[in-house]
Symmetry: C2
Subunit: 693 residues, 2 copies
């Protein structure tokens, strides 16, 4: 809460001219912050050092990060990243989330149903090829089509050639395009998970708080051809772990930042995106909490969704508070003013880039008008149901599959089809009661927002109340059966046309309405913004001449900083907690859920070295998506794992700060202490350290 | 959830022409449903019977109902009505809400800090005097002023003459005006409360559910001159209590219904009132839950607010679902169409009343435009703080006090000043941390809704973030000190003008902005609606010639019905539960909060007659505000106490149903069994029954 006071007003240009003393940035691996590292820390990572860290880093495609920690494909991530898989392979009678899990052999490692891991093998700048597809004089619609075709084709070519998952990534909001080639793993199995009660000790009340006491870890293993993979690059476990003041690196996949947004864009976020997201998140939180509170089994079914919602709600609140803080907005205004003045002073720059800011403001006026319909109809917020989402993608896949690759909607382009099908054909359990509750509520929301007399609303509801319509759809559809989905997918357009499945029929109602609003979005919002942000990126390079990192895009980035405490309201907050502090923290909260420790933690407390470092903070520049990122020292050894930021870090979406904002990690020594003394996880400890318990 | 299917389509006119078989209606005591009672139940209540019940009925001005149950001023209500007082006289170390309470003597009965009870002594129809104040040809502004003056004056005259609290009540949305004279009690003391764990057993998950197992009762005693009052009218306790199929009556204070609203008005509720209320309620629920979860003391501080919010959220969800159900809306449309056609067929009726519906629709167009500002600024939603509310009322009271009574805003008219001051000078605890959290959030909401560039918003925030501004205001104000409030109130306009208190200064910023939007509301929305609804009321009488009950207005009403089960999804739901069922219900939910019974309930289970009726349902027509209403039999004996409606009853705001909608009561025999065997409350039992344990 104290962030505002902690931003030195001097640092107005910090974002564009990284000061040598700031541990700022989510850097590209092909453009690392070599100068800052040399100047501030006298450290020069070699290309081999960087390659090793990159190839040891793993993206969890359900929204997190991780790293290889053994030659036999062992991967560590956070429990709250692994929880998605844990929940999907759990049932009423076998709840891995609650009880935790430990495999004693390869054969005892259960397979996740739809988890895809990626490792970034190749990076190429394809900006010219994407940019040159858009010819001078093309209108926005033609430009959007040409750009999309270029990207779809680039990905297809690469994937055909290399066999790698190939993604064209938009950087600097459209300033650059890079082609990433990922080694893809889809056979991922569970090795070890602690109980949620200790992994998420303190629950929602402690989330984004520090000091913390969480064992937020989870281990998986990657298989190929039904055997553990043997890999060259993995991180060596540091038994000592991070020490106070040490230079550390974080290699992970920050999901999204908006630091390069124009002021108009930030105001749009302040006035629309964040308030609307929060209303939706609160709505879902109250809905799911009401469902969960009715029985233990309901609680289990809704648990992972509910965590994600509460987590996002806290994050968004911090983001909105940042944008409602005049100090931050004034800083952003001053930055933009300085850049625009510099551009306007130079006739050439002015002619080339001067209109970019107004172009973005103009696109946002369109977006304000269409955003509700776009979110509800095209992005599916009005149809909060896994079964609807499956139906919708089946309908779209059939239609898009009938077109040449260059013309397809991005998410149905040839290069990504395998990953899409993996999601579509997932055997993850779907619960009718939960589906009905969510779908009924979201249909009701559609009436509230678009109005009962809206044509799409009327067609969707078919004269029924939201509750009755939702019940009818969920009970009537056969899409819970994966074989039915496969038959529809294989049958192409004809199968979709012939289908009498009520959910497929609903998707066919929604599809054209979604396409209509999407076209407006792509042609009048997204394409103009790409063009304008490309101009701003060039203007920024021209004016400041310095190296700038792009906003986060859920792709691999390198951050750095120090393991370091901070001061809050005059109080010193130490850099690390100890594993013994966990017990005092539980006691202080009456040992009641979510501060109730697993039994084994109380039974084996006496065996612990209570002063072992457990959770610690650092100045590394991270954000949501970095969960599970390895924290490594200069020798490239794993000294911790990122799992959270403190409350003060929530504005990092818009602006960096290193006074009070901190990344929060589990310490490698604390992890090892728990694995050895609490869990007596001999097999895992041996694999990680080469030593028995 | 099954309401829709349960409304017989035949009953289209049920509202206007009560069918003899429907137990419908919240009837005025000066216009009771004598014909239906005679026809259907062969029962003719005498004037004395009605007077006795009326004068035994008590209004709790914090939003509930109750009744006298002994000659010594003993009053019974629900625990969730009494909880407001319980919380205000509790502290961290003495939590009456959690532990319950039993006084063993008069001197041990603690006084509530700001509870006012009312008993309805006189009722007069003053429609002509109010209506005739508005002269033909007056524009809306003049009409509003004249009507307000007439009402303020009527109240003042009556209060001066009778010494009673005198309220002019608007009935039929403006069709009639009645003057109510209340005996007012302000020295109310706590006698007995069970633990919240049993009073609200099942918590939010079970709220509005049936079957139920709640001991939702609480006893107070009314004092005058520091002695228990001796009263003539109180209800005799029935030890047997209600039996299945028995005719019962409910005498209480239903808060609000909207059954006579036009279709345009209902659509306005569907599209604006209910969705906006729900967004606000969810926002507050998540905010307070986040605050409460941080410590036990936080939870205690927020408990009563949180209950109210969750309770309203469930109710509103049911109401919105009703309005989003085409069956209900089609029924409302058909009703309106029939009435309008009848009016339009008769030239005289058409000339006099034909334009009323369009008049209401027109007023709603204005309301849509101003409602956000009206709610945020004038109704204080942007300033969610007890201290702000005190400051605002002090500022207004000073200004209004300087005007002649006839010109004052309604809530500052002379007749109501004593009750207002009782609230203003309440010694109820105010918690700085909770105030700051709520005020910061509501200021943030004001930015979201009115925009950061709105002039009032800018003045209110004074260049600060919502969090900083809230902290500054709450820390800076001296209004927690009741003596400071009294000095300001006594000092009149001059004291307000001179005050440097930051909260008073904020109230002075808000006051003129609030008055501006309020004027628009009163002149362009409220006054035209009163005029139009008066026409519709007359048209309805002219067309249907039948007696119609007015919508609920938190004034005394008589409802009736049968103690009777129902069918839900083909399952029979019995009319009553037993006290023994409580234990099975706890067991089914793992005996975990909110299904964890108080220790004494487990210890003394063996002493109970487990088959004693405990909670029961009836067809009586009730709604929020009826909580705590006595349920009496034909002999006027107390056989139960209303505390809830089932989920199916949530649409009763708009439409009556007796197929599945049920009022839920605690049974008088179940109460007595618990008082005797669990609580061994000898003093209370003796006072209620004349018998020792």
């Amino acid at each position: 809460m104290k962030l505002r006071r902690s931003i030195p007003l001097l640092a107005v240009c910090a974002l564009y001219l990284p000061l040598s003393q700031a541990d700022e940035g989510m850097w590209l691996f092909n453009n690392p912050p070599l100068k800052v590292l040399k100047d501030k820390y006298n450290f020069e990572p070699s290309p081999a050092w960087l390659e090793h860290l990159r190839k040891s880093s793993v993206r969890f495609n359900n929204g997190g990060s991780g790293s290889f920690v053994s030659a036999d494909g062992l991967v560590m991530t956070n429990h709250h990243v692994g929880a998605d898989c844990l929940a999907k392979i759990s049932s009423k009678d076998k709840d891995y989330v609650k009880t935790g899990f430990e495999a004693q052999s390869y054969s005892a490692e259960p397979k996740c149903v739809d988890l895809e891991l990626n490792v970034l093998m190749t990076l190429d700048d394809v900006t010219d090829r994407v940019m040159s597809a858009v010819k001078p004089g093309m209108d926005s619609a033609a430009a959007e089509k040409a750009r999309r075709a270029a990207i779809n084709n680039l990905e297809k070519e690469s994937s055909d050639k290399t066999g790698l998952r190939s993604d064209v990534v938009t950087l600097y909001n459209g300033g650059q395009y890079h082609l990433y080639g990922y080694k893809k793993y889809t056979d991922v199995r569970l090795v070890f998970a602690p109980q949620k009660a200790i992994a998420f000790f303190g629950g929602d009340p402690d989330n984004f708080e520090y000091p913390r006491y969480d064992l937020d870890i989870c281990f998986f293993r990657v298989y190929e051809n039904d055997k553990p993979v043997h890999i060259e690059h993995f991180l060596k476990w540091s038994e000592a772990g991070a020490s106070e003041g040490e230079l550390i690196f974080v290699s992970g996949h920050p999901g999204r930042t908006d630091r390069l947004d124009t002021v108009a864009h930030l105001e749009y976020q302040r006035d629309h995106v964040n308030p609307d997201s929060l209303n939706l998140l609160r709505r879902l939180e109250v809905l799911l909490k009401g469902y969960a509170d009715r029985s233990f089994e309901n609680a289990r079914r809704a648990e992972d969704d509910l965590f994600g919602i509460q987590n996002s709600r806290k994050a968004r609140l911090g983001m909105l508070a940042g944008l409602q803080d005049p100090v931050i907005m004034d800083k952003k205004r001053a930055e933009e003013k300085a850049l625009r003045e510099a551009v306007n002073k130079d006739p050439k720059l002015k002619a080339d880039y001067g209109d970019a800011w107004d172009q973005i403001a103009g696109s946002l006026k369109t977006l304000v008008k269409i955003r509700e319909e776009y979110n509800l109809v095209e992005r599916g917020r009005a149809f909060d149901s896994e079964l609807f989402s499956i139906a919708f993608r089946l309908v779209r896949m059939a239609e898009e599959g009938a077109k040449p690759n260059s013309d397809r909607l991005r998410e149905y382009s040839a290069a990504g089809l395998d990953s899409l099908k993996m999601q579509l054909f997932s055997e993850a359990p779907i619960y009718d009661d939960l589906e009905t509750v969510k779908l009924a509520d979201s249909l009701g929301m559609m009436i509230e927002v678009l109005g009962a007399d809206n044509e799409v609303v009327k067609k969707v509801l078919a004269g029924k109340s939201p509750r009755d319509r939702a019940a009818e759809l969920i009970l009537g559809t056969k899409l819970k059966d994966v074989a039915v989905r496969k038959r529809l997918a294989d049958g192409g357009l004809k199968a979709i046309e012939d289908s009498t499945d009520p959910m497929i029929q609903l998707a066919k109602i929604v599809d054209p309405a979604g396409r209509r609003v999407r076209r407006t979005f792509e042609q009048q919002v997204d394409e103009p913004q790409r063009q304008a942000y490309a101009k701003i990126a060039k203007a920024r390079f021209a004016v400041y001449g310095a190296s700038v990192y792009p906003d986060a895009t859920f792709t691999l980035r390198l951050a750095f900083g120090q393991a370091k405490g901070y001061s809050e309201a005059g109080q010193k907050v130490p850099w690390a907690t100890t594993i013994g502090g966990t017990y005092a923290h539980a006691e202080m909260h009456g040992n009641k859920e979510p501060f109730e420790l697993p039994k084994v933690w109380n039974e084996r407390m006496g065996q612990l070295n209570l002063s072992t470092p457990y959770n610690f903070v650092s100045t590394a520049d991270i954000i949501g998506g970095n969960s599970g990122s390895p924290v490594v020292n200069k020798r490239g050894e794993l000294v911790g794992i990122i799992f959270d930021g403190n409350l003060q870090s929530l504005v990092l979406d818009y602006i960096y700060d290193d006074q009070e904002s901190r990344a929060v990690s589990v310490h490698s020594a604390g992890i090892m202490e728990a694995l050895r003394k609490i869990y007596k996880a001999n097999r895992l400890v041996t694999e990680l350290t080469g030593k028995n318990l």
